[in-house]
């Protein structure tokens, strides 16, 4: 099993969720994060003083998938999240050694 971590634009969340769901990825966990990268924040003026916003709001999606689903999941995320402008985000894949569904105590692939 792999954990796919995708950092995306907030406005792409619905699209990514729908396309993952369409290929049978049935679970994911989402959180609000702040990103720092090439897409720079900007400097605003507030009451005449500078105001540097160095972080940009992003969404982080974590989903653990079967090895077999991994490729297509990455592909779907990429397609749904891409706008071509700086700040589209990243996809990372990490190994997962064990998974359990708390409700049923099913393990590993059965737990996803």
């Amino acid at each position: 099993m792999k954990m796919i971590i995708a950092i995306i634009r907030p406005s792409r969340l619905e699209a990514v969720k729908d396309s993952l769901s369409a290929i049978g990825v049935e679970g994911m966990t989402v959180s609000e994060v702040q990103g720092y990268g090439r897409q720079k924040g900007h400097t605003e003026i507030y009451r005449g003083a500078e105001y540097a916003i160095s972080f940009v709001p992003k969404i982080k999606i974590e989903t653990v998938v079967r090895e077999a689903q991994m490729e297509s999941a990455i592909e779907e995320i990429k397609k749904a999240a891409q706008t071509g402008k700086m700040g589209d985000g990243k996809i990372f894949v990490l190994p997962v050694e064990f998974a359990m569904r708390i409700r049923t105590e099913d393990s590993n692939e059965a737990a996803l």
């Binding site: 406005s11 609000e32 702040q34 924040g41 605003e44 003026i45 507030y46 105001y51 916003i53 160095s54 972080f55 709001p57």
Partner: protein, 454 residues
């Protein structure tokens, strides 16, 4: 000249049950024990005080609209709507001073509009050695009271068009609405123009204030289009819940509170027992129409949607208030509850209906102020024998047509000159960042400042 339009107003006032000047005069002429009556100067002070109290209460409604709208838009547009509200209140006052007041009240004389020019008060008669108090009140108190009404009409527009209209064209439209559209139609009735000659009855502005704002909002919303994402692929409306329901509730309470000034001081006189009795009835009726509106929305949403809807109940209160505004004096309390309840019921159905027409009204202002205002105006003959249904209808239609035409022209000019809509990216990140470069709640959910230890 001042005398002239005072006469005009006098004429209108006579339509009401208890005309101030009338009564004071009759008290003077009557054989009744002279000592018991209110002296002329005392009446002058009372009337002026009424305008001042009514005026500050209605001014406070600006805060109510601001909080209501701030609560019903999404966080990313909250600072922008706050700015729009405080700006429109300011612009409304300036425009009304520069051209509005005289356009509305100076020498209308049964016609279509008054004079052009700045306004300045003339209280020389009352201030003369041999004080002549027949003007009835201080000129500036009346001006102040009329001015805050204009701002109310403008507040209605900001709510409907929130989250996507650009700041500058919105403020320009506000100036046109408060300097031109509102005063001209206002002249027709309150200024003593043709509608008032016909016997049209709109006590405190269901049509003259609320519907006017509502028509302008409706026209604007159609020309502007719906917010991004408001309708799904199948054209079904999607709910976009507001950022803070307690702020929206607070705003509603503020409006309710201010409405006592709106309707109560529209009696235009406090200087006699009869006037004070009338105002008392107006207070009670105003309150109870709103109360009826709340309870009706509560029950209806529970029946239709299974869950009680808070924001609909807030709209229900406002609908009740708008509905009673055309005639808060002649109904009994029971009738006031019914008038408010019907207004509220109309709004409960109008909101999803307008939504389905793809007219995107962020806070429900069209339903509340336009639908509620039309209902209130048409309901006047039910309790006031001096009003006729036909005349009410003529007034509603004439003013509606006028506002629609002028608003359309103004919005279209703005659209094809400087543009009225935020571009897609700006709308997506929110008007706060896009137009003001800041956020309403900079520490939550955006910006890096919450994380900073300092």
């Amino acid at each position: 000249m001042k005398r002239l339009f005072d006469q005009m107003k006098g004429r209108m006032r006579l339509l009401r049950a208890c005309a101030a000047t009338g009564l004071v005069v009759s008290a003077l002429l009557a054989p009744a024990p002279v000592f018991a009556a209110v002296s002329e100067e005392t009446a002058f002070v009372f009337n002026t005080l009424l305008f001042l109290i009514g005026g500050f209460l209605v001014m406070w409604m600006a805060a109510g609209f601001c909080m209501l709208e701030a609560g019903l838009v999404r966080s990313k547009n909250v600072a922008d709507i706050c700015l729009k509200n405080i700006s429109l209140y300011s612009i409304a006052g300036i425009m009304y001073y520069l051209i509005g007041y005289r356009l509305m009240y100076d020498g209308v004389d049964g016609g279509f509009m008054g004079a052009i020019g700045f306004w300045s008060p003339d209280d020389s008669a009352a201030l003369a050695e041999t004080g002549d108090f027949s003007a009835g009140y201080a000129a500036a108190s009346d001006w102040f009271f009329q001015m805050v009404f204009v701002a109310t009409a403008a507040s209605i527009v900001s709510g409907t068009m929130a989250e996507r209209v650009k700041l500058v064209p919105f403020l320009i439209f506000t100036a046109l609405l408060t300097g031109i559209i509102y005063p001209i139609q206002g002249a027709w009735h309150w200024g003593g123009g043709w509608l008032s000659e016909m016997g049209f009855a709109d006590f405190a502005g269901s049509t003259l204030v609320h519907s006017v704002g509502g028509w302008a909002a409706l026209t604007g919303a159609i020309i502007l289009g719906a917010r991004l994402g408001k309708y799904d692929a199948h054209g079904r409306p999607r709910a976009m819940p507001g950022s803070s329901l307690p702020l929206a509730t607070l705003g509603t309470f503020v409006l309710w509170f201010g409405w006592f000034g709106f309707n109560g001081a529209s009696q235009l006189a406090l200087g006699s027992a009869a006037d004070s009795i009338a105002i008392s009835q107006i207070f009670a009726n105003t309150n109870m129409a709103a109360a009826g509106g709340v309870v009706t929305a509560l029950i209806l949403t529970r029946i239709i949607y299974k869950k009680v809807d808070l924001t609909m109940s807030l709209n229900g209160a406002l609908a009740g208030l708008v509905a009673i505004t055309a005639e808060p004096l002649t109904p009994s309390i029971g009738q006031a509850i019914i008038i408010g309840s019907i207004g509220s019921a109309l709004v409960v159905f109008a909101i999803p209906f307008i939504d389905r027409l793809k007219i995107d009204d962020v806070v429900g202002a069209i339903s509340v102020h336009l639908v509620g205002g039309i209902w209130g105006t048409l309901a006047v003959p039910l309790t006031n024998g001096d009003a006729s249904f036909l005349t009410q209808l003529i007034g509603v239609v004439a003013i509606g047509a006028f506002v629609i035409v002028l608003s359309t022209i103004f919005w279209l000019i703005l659209k094809y000159s400087i543009g009225i809509r935020l571009d897609e990216e700006a709308e997506t990140i929110g008007s706060d960042i896009a137009e003001l470069g800041l956020e309403a709640y900079p520490e939550f959910g955006g910006g890096s400042h919450k994380y900073r230890g300092t």
